[in-house]
Amino acid sequence: MVPIRSIPIEPGSLSYPDLPWVIQHREDRCTLCGQCTSVCPKECLYLAYRRQRMPNLEVLSKKRGSEYRTFVGIRQRTDMKRSCIGCGMCAMVCPNEAITPVPNTVENRTLFFNNQKGEAYKRGGRRNTTGPTLLDRIMFDRISMLTDPALDAGRHEFTVSTTIGRILSPEEYLKRKVNGGWIPPTREVFPFIIGSMSFGALSPNMWLGLLQGVAYCNEVLDIPVVMCTGEGGCPPWVLRSPYLKYIILQIASGYFGWDEIIRAIPDMQCYPAAIEIKYGQGAKPGDGGLLMWYKVSKLIARLRGVPEGVDLPSPPVHQTLYSIEESVMKMIQTLSMAFNHKVPVYPKISASTSAKSVLNNLVRNPYAGGLLIDGIDGGTGAAYSVSMDATGHPVASNVRECYLDLAAQGMQNEVPIYAAGGVGKNGNVAQNGMALVMLGASAVHIGKYIMQSTAGCLGNEQNRCNVCNVGICPKGITSQNPKLYRRLDPDSVAERVAETYMAIRTEVKKIMAPLGRSQSLPIGMSDAIGINDKDAAERLQIKYVC
């Protein structure tokens, strides 16, 4: 054994088979064009010069020994800061299919070292759990075979919209109509809402693309899609534009961007679609928003009214409030009043065993326009890994029990429940969404799916990419660096938004038609669904099928 003092090994030293992603590079195909190294967001690739032994094998000669040649290849770095994240941009830009990252199925030793400098691991993205979700396993099994002529998803007329906002009981509605009372505002929207992703978390190009796409869906395709801003306000020009009606403005514990919004109220051409008050987020319950300094550009700083380049962690709670009851009383009413009681206001909470209590509180507040429950499978722009992985509650059973609670009080039409968190995470967006609708949700919010579908977000459930927090998004979706976000063409994003929603609309009809439903969204139609898991069926009070 040789002492290897001269070899620099430290406790934290890693070699490439220890990393979660291993770069496979084929020297025979590489033309050394350098595109992969320049596109890599982590700068993990470098040009390496290696010596290759060329053995001499001359059989008839006594001469032995080798000759050497130098070759140039691409190698990956092994330090934590620059380890490969598997985004695959190298493969995407390589003109010769010479390079790609592959997941390391043996061991990922970076798990033990991602606490460099005492910082707990933070990331963007998702919870990284693979395999079909509970929602994926729900089947729509009540097919009208006996007396129905099947509906034709292609030719029959379908009404697939839903409502945002408080709805009165029929008796109360008629009473107020006669006596001239206040009818709470409602909006008729497509039940797949683009969930809250802030202007700050998303790049300007991504945001613009989404908004263009949403406007196109509304104005050309007749799909009333709305999108939520997330915490961080809304670009001033949008606030003063007619497109504001497609936007749900979110207010969260940091109140970022609300100076700008309040100032814009007198100049607004129309009201926003709704106001969402964020009390919790499914991906990181107990945490407020977290915009890391890398992403606080000049524009974002202006919009949020803060200096450039500082971390913007929102507090976990609304500082001015003591409890959710108080918040129900104060915030909902205040915000409703700010918009002349003409905009629905609803809170968003993380899915939790206490969701029913919150809901019951809202039931008694005439200004509460619904409840958004965000499950553990939701995504985020930035969070502590431990929060994302282990804190929270799945959305399905939470929505179901809240719905059943409302139904027991006869209030299920009055306080709509919206569900979010993992809808479409394996691509089955319409199926997941409709399963939640039949469990009792009036609409679903989708975030990650929209990023993946409309902008080609590279994240997946194997911890691919997930660097939304540090502003190096290789697609330019969640970066404030112009060099990166210029990669994203807003027009193409808008086009994808339109394509995505056209397909969702068709799939929703394809789900509703065999159930014999076309006139209204089948909210709470729990007789239409089944699952091949007895425990889940019992918990959700739906059929067990096998």
Binding site: S169, P170, L174, A408, N413, Q519, I523
Partner: protein
């Protein structure tokens, strides 16, 4: 698919006529049930005062029969008339029933000057209490209706066979309105309470087809905590309850029913003279939207008859007749059988927006379209 027939005439007629119309449409049902509702009663052997509520149902044995008697007596009802069917038991296909009853009572004295609503609530709770009593005793007592001027018969079997068994052709019972349904058992078990027509506080409907939105509608109605919104052995029972909710709870006119179960689309409502009100109504009654495919045929306490279709008109139904006598049936041959001597050129098959209303005077049909101005003052 279920078959439906309704006849309404100024001169009382035998329910057997309607059963014969059912025979004309017989390929459509499987004998899993027959329901009959008679309104505007006339008895051969009794001069009936139309203020007396009539209790209709089946007592399976002597015990339940006695219980019924005792219950009504204790509640203060005075038996005025007890109709006895001349039973032809050899026609009976299912289990032997002890007694089919149609009994007229005088309301308890303390209700004599009571407001109408109180009387109606009392009749409802009496019916429900009896129904509960039967259910608690192994189903030995079924009660279908308890209301002035209304009698109901429900039985498992083929319509004509049931009619023969009860000798409905003997002219002992006649009525101005008769509706019948031959049931094709869809998704819920054969149960007497699952036979159409369904009845609540004088309002009755029957339906063909399947109600795919049944569960959400049922859940919502159950949430109203109104005592009569219960049962739901059939997915069609909710149509009756929605009509009741529209007329009695919301106190809207009959024309609003269609706006509740099959509201117009938002674009159509944009052009409607009362679009704003109707959009609001659509919102607050969203859980009552049906999908069909159904034709709903019904009658109201004042002998008004109605027919509406689902939003896509996925089921057939025809109305025809002449002044003084009208028939509604799920099949044209049903109308033919009930009123052969009419001009079929004037038959009408409602489309998705129509509500066919035969007013109590039976002079002519009213065809109300959802696109028409709503007749309610508050909508304006």
């Amino acid at each position: 698919m279920c078959r439906l027939a309704l006849k309404t005439a100024n001169d009382p007629f035998s329910p057997y006529e309607v059963l014969e119309a059912m025979e004309a449409m017989q390929e459509g049902y499987d004998g899993s049930g027959l329901g009959l509702l008679l309104r505007g009663m006339e008895f051969e052997d009794f001069i009936y005062n139309p203020r007396f509520p009539i209790l209709s149902g089946i007592a399976e044995n002597k015990k339940s029969w006695k219980r019924l008697d005792r219950f009504m007596e204790e509640r203060g009802y005075e038996l005025k008339y007890d109709h006895k069917f001349s039973m032809q038991r050899h026609h009976m296909s299912g289990k032997d029933r002890f007694r089919y009853f149609i009994r007229a009572y005088r309301m308890p004295d303390n209700f004599s000057g009571a407001p109408q609503e109180e009387r109606e609530a009392e009749m409802l709770s009496t019916r429900l209490a009896l129904r509960k009593d039967g259910e608690e005793n192994g189903g030995d007592l079924s009660v279908f209706s308890f209301w002035p001027d209304v009698a109901m018969i429900k039985e498992v079997g083929w319509p004509l066979q049931v009619g023969n068994m009860l000798s409905l052709h003997d002219g002992q019972i006649k009525s101005r309105v008769c509706m019948a349904q031959g049931r094709q058992n869809t998704n819920y078990g054969i149960n007497l309470y699952a036979c159409h027509p369904f009845f609540i506080q004088g309002i009755s409907t029957m339906t063909n087809g399947e109600n795919t939105a049944f569960v959400p509608i049922r859940d919502w109605l159950l949430g109203r905590s109104f005592p009569g919104y219960m049962g739901y052995q059939s997915d069609s029972e909710v149509f009756t309850h929605i009509l009741h909710y529209t007329l009695k709870q919301m106190k809207l006119p009959l024309e609003a029913y269609k706006h509740v179960i099959t509201p117009l689309s938002l674009t159509e409502l944009d052009k409607h003279p009362q679009g704003e009100f109707l959009k609001g109504l659509r919102n607050v009654c969203r859980r009552l939207i049906i999908d069909g495919p159904n034709a709903v045929i019904g009658t109201l306490p004042d002998e008004t008859c109605l027919l509406v279709m689902d939003h896509k008109k996925l089921r057939p139904a025809t109305v025809g007749g002449r002044e003084g006598v009208w028939a509604i049936a799920s099949e044209m041959c049903g109308v033919d059988a009930m009123i052969p001597d009419r001009n079929p050129a004037f038959d009408f098959q409602p489309m998705r927006e129509h509500t066919v209303i035969i007013p109590p005077d039976r002079k002519e049909l009213n065809i109300w379209s959802q696109f028409d101005q709503f007749p309610l003052s508050l909508a304006a």
